[in-house]
Subunit: 184 residues, 2 copies
DNA sequence: GTCTATATTCCGATAGAC
DNA sequence: GTCTATCGGAATATAGAC
């Protein structure tokens, strides 16, 4: 893996673990064994690092989208859940939630890219729900966009809350989301 | 209002607006017209300020609990929503969500107090849902605790997301939560 | 209680050698 | 690309006068 990719991977983890204002170039420096000055060669400013990190997630999401294109609605939903299963296993939170709570302190360019990511996630889940409803396997009486927001906020919120209420709440919620979608 | 209360009120707003690591004593200093050194007289460390701020929310929640004790399940739920309606009007996020994403960077005492607050909120909503179900006005097929977590994460998450997806999503979600609770 | 002054540490960022 | 060295600023916190 290139140094640039090592930095990006660690940046992602640190943002989700400590928040954008809770980690420093020194954290990256000590972990991958490179001086802080060298990080600036790859990313001139911390905002540049933030933008690149969010863009990386957007690219990953596009990959997921391609992979599930011809899968069943349930499999599409599981692919979305898998993002948060990974987050849970790392005992951190998701990138969108972490940056959203720091929104008023980050550079405008990060904000723009984060809006792109949030929009892409919302589109993915909304389409998944519409697909499931048209095929008669998902049932809900509210707009697909709103139902998608409910499921997304369930996942985004539970990874934040479960460290305060109990880890078992994650599986309970994931299971209940599917159960409610299946019941007429 | 005492200086101490002024500091606490501003601390709450700043944590929710910029995150715990995104605001400084200087922000408080310049707003209420007091030197940063004076803030330390009231709160020796930033962690002390954090603990007191969370305890303030816990006290407010106890007040709400007393107020709604004999109200209908719908009114109880609206009282819970009202916390987030206020958050929305301030264009910020909720305290639990903001501190949860910074959890690994805050003092242990703040973490303990935040757990107490999250537990109290979960209890309030769970009891509200159980009350509504026993009275036949709310309908859901999953454990009350899980349903409560779903509604809490809906609110916690939508105030974080709506600044990225659109403000209209807040009302849509609030309305849909009630609609789904009412439908058999 | 609030002030001035200061200690200490940390952070993002840049210049220039290698 | 990575390094050493350093700048400038901001942060939390403390000491002591008023």
């Amino acid at each position: 893996m290139t140094t640039r990719d090592q930095i990006l991977k660690l940046s992602d983890k640190l943002i989700r673990d400590k928040g954008f204002n809770g980690f420093s170039f020194h954290d990256i420096s000590k972990t991958i064994g490179i001086k802080t000055a060298s990080i600036h060669y790859h990313f001139p400013t911390k905002a540049d690092l933030g933008v690149a990190t969010v863009k990386g997630h957007l690219k990953s999401l596009e990959e997921i989208k391609k992979t599930i294109a011809n899968k069943s609605p349930f499999q599409k939903l599981e692919a979305f859940f898998s993002i948060y299963v990974k987050v849970k296993s790392e005992k951190s939170v998701c990138l969108v939630g972490s940056l959203a709570t720091d929104l008023n302190t980050v550079d405008g360019k990060v904000k723009v890219e984060l809006k792109n990511l949030a929009t892409a996630i919302l589109e993915l889940v909304t389409e998944t729900l519409e697909d499931g409803k048209s095929k008669g396997v998902f049932h809900f009486q509210i707009p697909a966009r709103t139902k998608a927001l409910m499921i997304i906020t369930n996942m985004l919120g539970i990874v934040q809350l479960m460290r305060l209420t109990g880890e078992q709440d994650f599986e309970a919620m994931k299971g209940s989301i599917v159960k409610e979608l299946k019941s007429k």
